[in-house]
């Protein structure tokens, strides 16, 4: 049986199993409070920020680069958003637009140094990590920028009206099943072997069931939180980019073998720069959610967030050597990290223990990954 399961599927199963174990463990330990609608709503709202960061980061890591500036950049962009909102009273749409554009510019700036000037990404983004934080403190004079307008709060704190939520999830579920069907049909048309129908449809239905379960649970509290809808949209967009577009394909090729990609006529530098540009936009969106949730721009916001994002990607099966990784995996990684945080906080586990546990989980996840790859060779 195991021979039939590919390494990537094994990894997926392991991740789902880990998630289940965590859920069961904390549910028992908190006597069900962990899976109460209110906590689930909290939990996935906590996931949103790291999740969005991980979406950008996973592209960077697949291309065999790294971005350490993400935390500081998020702080800076969050500060910019707060300044635009609190000090300049700009309309919310303009604040969002300017922040996202600023994120794009900062990302492209990183990418330009890395791709065209050939400074290693570790160094470029380490420099960014320091400098962006410095700019933030300089801009805000080290003070918190508050309070943000009620408009800005919508992004991070509001909930989707239930009618909307239900229809969005419904369309999503139908779309998913339809997609599996049409894909299988296309493969048959090209004479390609399909994975077992039972397997694929089971997978699709499990996803549908999880989505519906989540929907019921969230509707029981206050509805779907807006940041989760934003993250969901970005997951779809990023998965589409990774799997369906020429850009996505090139990202994998660059990470898999940059020399071969170059010899094949792929514009390696251009693509690399835009990977960082995309990452910058994701950071900007995460920054907007963060500022909106905090209701303020803080000079220390987003500190060390890059490590959470990298950890989420790695736990989700992204290879630091490049060429391997999925958006879904990174999101699962973010969810696992957030569940641990959330569950341990509920159990009043001291902060130092939380850090130790998270560190151990990261080590364990990668160790397992290395192990399974070796035996599957």
């Amino acid at each position: 049986m195991f021979k039939a399961i590919k390494t990537s599927q094994l990894q997926l199963l392991a991740m789902i199993a880990a998630m289940l174990i965590i859920i069961v463990f904390f549910s028992v330990a908190t006597e069900g409070a962990f899976i109460s609608p209110r906590n689930i709503s909290n939990l996935i709202r906590q996931t949103a920020i790291v999740g969005v960061l991980a979406i950008g980061m996973v592209f960077v890591i697949i291309s065999a680069e790294i971005d350490l500036s993400v935390g500081s950049m998020m702080g800076l962009l969050g500060g910019v958003a707060a300044i635009l909102d609190v000090w300049l009273h700009l309309p919310i749409a303009l604040t969002i637009l300017i922040t996202v554009c600023a994120g794009l510019v900062l990302g492209l700036f990183n990418g330009w140094w890395i791709a065209y000037q050939r400074v290693p990404s570790f160094i470029v983004t380490l420099a960014g990590m320091l400098a962006f934080r410095g700019i933030l403190v300089g801009l805000t004079d080290g003070a918190t920028v508050a309070p943000t307008s009620s408009d800005l709060s919508i992004i991070g704190q509001s909930y989707i009206p239930s009618g909307w939520g239900i229809s969005v999830i419904g369309v999503l579920c139908l779309g998913l099943v339809a997609q599996v069907y049409s894909r299988r049909k296309a493969r048959v048309n090209h004479g390609l072997e399909n994975t077992k129908a039972k397997f694929e449809y089971t997978k699709a239905f499990i996803v549908v069931a999880v989505l519906l379960g989540l929907l019921v649970s969230l509707e029981n509290y206050r509805g779907i939180p807006t940041p989760i809808l934003v993250m969901g949209g970005l997951i779809l967009l990023a998965t589409y980019i990774a799997k369906r577009t020429a850009f996505g394909r090139r990202v994998y090729a660059i990470g898999g073998n940059i020399e071969a990609a170059r010899m094949s006529g792929v514009n390696v530098e251009w693509n690399k720069m835009w990977i960082f540009g995309f990452n910058g936009m994701m950071v900007a969106i995460a920054a907007l959610i963060l500022t909106s949730r905090l209701g303020a721009g803080s000079p220390s916001a987003g500190n060390m967030a890059e490590l959470d994002a990298i950890a989420a990607c790695v736990i989700g099966g992204t290879s630091l050597a490049g060429g391997i990784g999925t958006v879904f995996g990174a999101i699962m990684g973010a969810l696992i990290m957030a569940s641990l945080d959330n569950g341990m906080s509920m159990l009043d586990v001291p902060t130092f223990w939380q850090l130790i546990v998270k560190g151990s989980i990261l080590l364990l996840a990668v160790w397992l990954d290395v192990k399974t790859k070796k035996t599957n060779k």
Binding site: A253, R262, V266
Partner: protein
């Protein structure tokens, strides 16, 4: 009969249920050379990995005896301690360390706190003399050519107390001159009573060197015979299970007008004083196979890099294609102008190992599959058109793969090469540059690639083939250019051309 130095009995090795070796037995006495022949993927390398301890005792069935003692190695260190040294096809040298440091890597001379540099220097110098490599022991590996690196590997093995030397395709990247040196060295080892297992696709070397020839096909031991009883055709027959009528199918080409005219090509590494390509001019005609011969380091590959826009130093060349001047500054521009290249180093420049065969094939032409959706360009790939073309090319080039989605690293070298050629053909090239197209590829796949080259030329594609294998250069090309130290030294028509003529031109100073 004396006791054999090495005996492997009924070795069986499986990978997840698939038998890679199916009861192979070999025997070897000191001072003898045993060649192992077989197509790529036949199990030669697996057998050597079993012997050298890469696959530890217990992961295979069968027995190994060395000097009469059973071998139960748990890793390469154990077999090296016994005196079994393997030199792999892929060189295992640290590029940013010097020759000396590489040779003594892992068994440095001197104490824990102080290395004995002088002694190591002397030893290295002597070893280099032995392999006829005229460079300083402190030269960085990075600065050496592939052929020279191979010689360093051999020097490294000689430094260990070797009783059985295993050479896995040692000459696939060597020039004729270097091959001679290598064969001399092996003969010398023989005289010293050192045994050698020699794995090569070059059957003339095999016959010249070995006492015994063992043939493996699909993991089965077909037979071991004395080399004196065999001819090249016998071995090929045993390897492929069928007789090849001829190794190099010769077909007449209908040669047309000049397609490509390169004048005054010049290339120099930053900081170097000698140009790698020195004022080279040549023409290529439509429907022609132009062979480029020369020693490794003679500037052949660098010349191709100038044309393909990927030379990593300063270079200039005026290139005219079909009478129009062309400026090529990158691989993208080359591809856009109709020049495609199959690079020399397949692993490094050719394939994206973990990506599927199909995705590798379509990598150069993704742009062509991008569809716009309702007038908006979303950059998405029309996957149905893409898979259709991939499947067409896989069947046209006979790429043997279980599925287009299989990672390309799982394919044999020959099939990887065919996939890379497919990638080039998808770009619809007018000119196809093949740099060492059949290196490390088994006989059957070679033949298919030659056939394919002839078919392409008939369709009006022009081919430039750089090759170190002289029989191939002579057998396939219409016209042959010979390079020597960066300059063009001779031009020959294929008719009446002999290996000696090319070699004389490639090696000798002056004309």
């Amino acid at each position: 009969m004396t006791q054999p130095l090495l005996e492997m009995r009924n070795i069986v090795k499986s990978f997840s249920g698939v038998r890679a070796l199916n009861g192979v037995s070999i025997k070897l006495t000191g001072g003898e050379v045993l060649s192992i022949c077989g197509e790529n993927g036949s199990g030669k390398s697996t057998l050597m990995k079993v012997l050298s301890g890469v696959w530890p005792f217990g992961s295979y069935e069968g027995d190994i005896f060395f000097e009469g003692q059973p071998v139960k190695a748990s890793g390469i260190r154990d077999t090296e301690a016994l005196g079994i040294v393997i030199i792999h096809q892929e060189l295992a040298l640290v590029k940013d360390m010097s020759i000396l440091e590489n040779i003594f890597l892992g068994n440095e001379l001197g104490g824990f706190t102080q290395l004995n540099d002088e002694e190591m220097y002397r030893t290295t110098r002597d070893l280099l003399k032995q392999v006829k490599l005229d460079v300083s022991p402190n030269t960085l590996i990075r600065e050496l050519g592939v052929g020279q690196q191979q010689l360093v590997e051999i020097a490294k093995a000689l430094n260990k107390n070797v009783k059985l030397l295993i050479l896995d395709e040692p000459t696939s990247s060597l020039t004729r001159n270097e091959i001679h040196i290598l064969l001399d060295i092996v003969q010398g080892l023989k005289a010293q009573g050192i045994a050698c297992i020699y794995i090569s696709h070059k059957l003339d070397e095999v016959l010249a060197l070995s006492n015994w020839v063992a043939v493996i096909r699909d993991g089965d031991h077909i037979g071991t015979k004395s080399a004196t009883e065999l001819t090249q055709n016998d071995i090929i027959g045993m390897m492929v299970g069928r007789e090849l009528e001829e190794l190099f199918p010769r077909e007449e080409h209908d040669i047309g007008d000049v397609v490509l005219q390169v004048t005054h090509a010049q290339a120099m590494q930053a900081g170097a004083s000698v140009p790698q390509v020195n004022d080279v001019s040549f023409t290529l005609r439509r429907g022609e196979i132009l062979g480029i011969a020369g020693l490794i380091g003679s500037g052949r590959t660098e010349l191709m890099q100038c044309i393909y826009g990927c030379y990593d130093g300063r270079y200039s060349a005026s290139i005219e294609m079909e009478g129009k001047p062309l400026k090529i500054r990158s691989q993208r521009e080359a591809l856009a102008s109709g020049i495609a290249m199959v690079p020399e180093d397949r692993k490094r420049h050719g394939i994206v190992p973990i990506m599927g065969v199909g995705k590798n094939i379509s990598l150069s032409v993704l742009r062509d599959y991008i569809t716009s959706f309702g007038g908006i360009n979303l950059g998405s790939i029309d996957e149905s058109r893409e898979s259709q073309e991939i499947i067409d090319y896989i069947s046209r080039l006979k790429v043997k793969t279980a599925s287009p989605e299989l990672p390309i690293k799982n394919l044999s070298g020959g099939n990887q090469q065919k996939a890379i050629i497919a990638k080039c053909l998808l770009t619809n090239p007018k000119i196809l540059i093949l740099d060492e197209p059949t290196r490390g590829i088994d006989v059957g796949a070679k033949y298919e690639i030659y056939k394919l080259m002839h078919a392409l030329v008939k369709e009006g594609v022009s081919i430039i083939m750089v090759s170190s294998e002289l029989p191939e250069v002579i057998g396939i090309s219409d016209r042959v250019l010979v390079m020597h130290e960066g300059s063009l030294k001779g031009e020959f028509d294929h008719q009446g051309l002999t290996q000696e003529m090319i070699m004389n031109c490639a090696i000798k100073e002056g004309v």
